[in-house]
């Protein structure tokens, strides 16, 4: 549990979200809000993928 690779996911999601937000806006406030939106989208996407993979693993 404590050595799971999933603990590294925030280190990927946060920089990606901030950079993506920064490429769309100039205002720091807009950048932060866009980053938060992208964090949510990425977490939902990655969680969905993880669930599907775990289900496939369980089936096989």
């Amino acid at each position: 549990m404590w050595q799971s690779i999933f603990w590294h996911i925030p280190a990927l999601v946060i920089p990606v979200s901030l950079v993506y937000g920064a490429t769309r806006f100039e205002n720091p406030r807009d950048i932060f809000w866009e980053a938060i939106h992208w964090m949510r989208r990425l977490v939902v996407f990655l969680t969905t993928i993880a669930i599907v993979v775990h289900l496939l693993t369980w089936l096989v």
Binding site: A11, L12, V19, T23, R24, F25, N27, F32
Partner: protein, 285 residues
């Protein structure tokens, strides 16, 4: 959220204190003007060595805030003309546009993430790009045992002097990249990934594992085959995840290069209305 960003900009990222001097006295604009004044000094030069000319005008009191707003870029990234012959600026520096790309800043960002934005006076975004891209790159590099950013000579596979590999349909391809295609993405972080090229041509990783170029040491030197096998078979999937991080960092910097070159993407979004962004000028659209 906005006051926090301003405080960070004025006090930490640009550490020089702003003496409240000069003709500007409107408290409402002191914080922003203070940041601009500091930034103008940070990038030095009477007109901003790095292109921060707008802040100097404001400090001289030549532009009132309302007038100033007609010559800058909004928070949504929409472009407005500052006047004939004047650079496009906003409160965070000179913003390029698709009509007038800033090629020099693009090259700077290709060398070091965020350097192009810093050159343009867009310090906040510059630090975001610099911090995030390098954090992701070095986090992945360290997580992968410092052995996932490299270019192999793969001497044992094909003699190095035949440096071209024929791939599908006989298309020639550089052999090091053929055996390590991830480097195509990793090299996007700029000069931090260039030593791998020097290491590749300096010595063979199998027969000369301890031969390294001066100054670089073993930084980004290709590990021997047995070491790679050990990293990939022992432990969990961290090594694979780690090189994904480094490739993601390189690809993210491509977005940063585009931002330095052509400015931010334009998103006509109602969300930004009512923020601290300067109001849109008449006819700006």
């Amino acid at each position: 959220m906005n006051w926090l960003a301003k405080s960070v900009l004025a006090k930490w990222l640009l550490p020089e204190q702003c003496p409240l001097e000069g003709p500007i006295s409107a408290k409402k604009n002191l914080n922003r003007d203070c940041s601009d004044k500091v930034r103008g000094r940070f990038f030095s030069g009477s007109n901003g060595l790095f292109g921060c000319s707008g802040s100097e005008d404001k400090l001289q009191g030549n532009l009132s805030p309302a007038k100033d707003a007609s010559g800058i870029t909004s928070g949504q990234g929409k472009k407005m003309e500052a006047g004939k012959g004047e650079p496009l600026t906003n409160e965070s520096g000179r913003v390029p546009s698709r009509d007038k790309p800033d090629y020099f800043a693009g090259v700077l960002s290709a060398l070091v993430p965020g350097l192009g934005q810093l050159f343009q006076g867009r310090a906040f975004k510059g630090w975001i790009f610099l911090g995030c891209v390098y954090f992701l790159f070095f986090y992945g590099w360290i997580l992968g045992g410092r052995s996932n950013v490299y270019l192999p000579r793969a001497e044992q596979c094909v003699p190095f002097k035949t440096n071209i590999v024929r791939v599908a349909f006989g298309i020639p391809f550089p052999k090091p990249l053929y055996y390590r295609w991830q480097y195509v993405g990793q090299v996007g972080v700029g000069i931090a990934a260039w030593p791998a090229i020097i290491q590749c041509y300096w010595a063979d990783e199998e027969n000369e594992p301890d031969v390294t170029p001066p100054l670089l040491g073993k930084y980004l030197k290709a590990p021997p085959e047995r070491e790679l096998n050990r990293l990939q078979t022992e432990g969990d999937a961290s090594w694979e995840l780690a090189w994904v991080f480094t490739v993601a960092a390189g690809l993210l910097n491509l977005l940063g290069i585009y931002d330095a070159l052509c400015g931010p993407a334009v998103i006509p979004d109602k969300k930004s209305q009512g923020t601290d962004s300067p109001p849109l000028a008449k006819g700006a659209n």
